[in-house]
């Protein structure tokens, strides 16, 4: 009876999505742990809720169409921070473009090598290819290449959290200490989630990191179709 009502409800899916995200935000504030990423918490809680209540995924998916419609307009808005930071790019144009290009190439080559070593197939390969770029662009790219979109999103979030937690110590270990280089490395590797860490590290790190989110995203989309044919 209750399941039937929830399955037919117009607002249940949206409420569930925003509500669990709110819980995630609250948990993050309370604990301060990076692992309490609101997006990750929301995904886990929503899946658990649907599983327990036996609500079919299809009806949840239909209910959240309105949320999905806003993703393209929201992604396009990334042009605004890019426009505002372009002077930073122009001042260090060679270092920044070479750094981002190296990051994008390293991402695709390392994924290609590991997929081949582990004997995973083409679908796994294109599912993983967009993992270092921001979710909005990455899920579109995974879709275009024929990847498994939900898994792409999970790997993107895990990548971001990995960068957020370990990038600072790792950069110190490999002796990267220039603020511009640190920002570019974090943004190119771990997109928005890493960038929130870069912003804590310093203004230059933060600006460089957010600049490389959009730039490496676009560069990945352009080169990925070539790489996709390699495995």
């Amino acid at each position: 009876m209750a399941t039937e009502f929830l399955t037919d409800s117009v607002y249940m899916a949206v409420l569930l999505t925003i509500g669990t995200y709110g819980i995630g935000t609250w948990l993050r504030k309370k604990t301060g742990w990076t692992l309490m990423n609101p997006l990750l918490v929301s995904i886990v809680l929503t899946i658990a809720f649907l599983y327990i209540t036996d609500i079919p995924y299809e009806s949840y998916s239909r209910g959240t169409d309105i949320i999905k419609y806003m993703l393209t307009p929201a992604t396009i808005c990334l042009a605004v921070p890019l426009y505002e930071q372009i002077d930073q790019l122009k001042r260090n144009v060679h270092a920044v473009t070479m750094g981002i290009a190296a990051g994008v190439l390293a991402s695709m080559l390392s994924i290609l090598a590991l997929v081949v070593i582990m004997g995973l197939g083409h679908v796994s390969y294109v599912t993983l290819l967009p993992k270092s770029i921001t979710t909005a662009i990455g899920m579109d790219l995974s879709n275009e290449l024929g990847g498994n979109v939900p898994i792409t999103i999970i790997t993107i979030v895990i990548t971001g959290i990995t960068g957020n937690i370990f990038a600072e110590r790792f950069l110190k270990l490999i002796r990267v200490n220039h603020p511009i280089a640190k920002g570019i490395a974090i943004g190119a590797a771990s997109h928005v989630i890493g960038t929130s860490k870069a912003m804590e590290m310093g203004q230059t790190e933060g600006a460089m990191s957010s600049l490389s989110i959009v730039t490496s995203g676009i560069l990945t989309v352009i080169t990925a179709s070539v790489f996709a044919s390699l495995a």
Partner: protein
């Protein structure tokens, strides 16, 4: 009314991106065309940042919520990866470190190299 106008501008660029996506043969998503078009419009001062500031900031901040529904699709696709998820995890974490190292070293290397050649040319000048 101001926010409706801001949203209208952003939706126009989404629509233009959609048109390019369906007419051009490149494998680029509509959102990338939209970013490029909006960026060009900002550079050319056809659109001013203050004309879209509030709505664009709100949409960017709300973006993570929009990733939840597609990710919940994992419920349906889990069976495809239940045997290989640990390999996915390993690749994800390892390649993240590779990218940090490559981008960090390259950026720092170019900066150092520029500084060096800059001081060298100054030395020659003296």
């Amino acid at each position: 009314m101001r926010y409706v106008f801001q949203l209208l501008i952003i939706i126009c660029f989404s629509f233009a991106g959609e048109i390019l996506h369906s007419t051009l043969p490149l494998p680029l998503p509509a959102s990338i065309y939209g970013i490029i078009l909006l960026y060009a419009a900002l550079e050319l001062k056809l659109v001013k940042v203050h004309q879209i500031r509030e709505v664009s900031t709100t949409l960017i901040m709300a973006m993570p919520v929009m990733f939840v529904p597609p990710a919940v699709g994992l419920l349906k696709t889990w069976k495809n990866i239940q045997d290989t998820w640990s390999q996915y995890l390993l690749i994800t974490v390892l390649s993240t470190f590779v990218v940090i190292a490559a981008a960090g070293w390259m950026t720092q290397g170019v900066i150092r190299w520029k500084e060096k050649s800059h001081t060298k040319s100054q030395d020659n000048g003296n």
